[in-house]
Amino acid sequence: MEGTAVPGRLTWQVATVTAARWETPSVRTIELDVPSWPGHRAGQHLDVKLTAEDGYSAERSYSIASAAAEQVAIAVERLDDGEVSPYLTDGLDVGDELELRGPVGGYFVWEKGDGGPLMLVGGGSGIVPLRAILRERERTGSDVPVRLLYSARTYADLIYRDELAAHRDGVEVFYSLTREQPAGWAGYTRRVDPGLLAETAWPEGRNPLAFVCGPTSFVEAVAAELVALGYPSGRVKTERFGGT
């Protein structure tokens, strides 16, 4: 079909897997060499298409885990009943090809000029675009203060655990492990609720910019609570991953 030369139109292209590593028992980072990649912004995603021999195809979206100007990487969580994710986590090898299009999205993005302070709230794999935002902040030398609230089921499920734990000026990270905690755990142990957010969120007087990402029910509860804390709804950006 014509259209590859039209500016702005996304086209599917073939990328090659250059590296892959497990972040947790069910999440794998896949680094990609994309020949005609136009660059991306932190928070954007890309669409992957798998096509079977009979022509049946399935498409899924994955958040880009890297900052702008970094190599494209996605983090895929294996869903037990998934149609696409088990192949990406367990079937794909370095050197394999993947059909994708992107980058996608002009809303759930952050650039240095957007300022802060930033309130990043992630549930499960919702941490992925938030990690891209954190890396973009570091890449550009931004000093906007950040509070990150990251909710996961167990310690082993924390993606980018070591990277987030590394000391960063101006970045405070709060964790909540909702199903199981290691001995001596000093963080939160419950689902994000109004009290937890009131303790961790920037006061609205700081004019914070919030990014909330994760399962749909998590995002909707958190966004409503931030608005209840006084955040203007236009300053609470949301990206729902579905699931529970």
């Binding site: 702005g8 996304l10 890309l46 992107g102 999205g105 002009g106 759930f108 749909t216 729902r240 699931g243």
Partner: protein, 86 residues
């Protein structure tokens, strides 16, 4: 049916319309509410891609892909305001 949001159809919208529309404001022709496309309620697991108004749940748009065609029903949107591509 799992509810997503307009971010999930960003790629499809860009394929159809040639520009990112997730940051566009759509006016619901049923209730008049204005909302960002990114925050509309989206269902992808039905026969078509269904986008609903977050305020009143009326259909904003339906995009069905059949035989190499994108069939778009936009009757639920009475106005769409999007930034000009830079």
């Amino acid at each position: 049916m799992v509810a997503l949001d307009g971010n999930a159809i960003g790629g499809l919208l860009q394929e159809v319309f040639g520009t990112d529309l997730t940051d566009a404001q759509a006016t619901c022709s049923t209730c008049g509410a204005i909302g960002l496309v990114a925050q509309a309620v989206v269902y992808l697991d039905g026969p078509g891609n269904v986008v609903r108004c977050r305020n009143c749940s009326a259909m904003l748009m339906v995009i069905t892909r059949i035989r190499g065609m994108n069939c778009v029903d936009l009757s639920g949107i009475s106005a769409l305001v999007a930034s000009q591509p830079s």
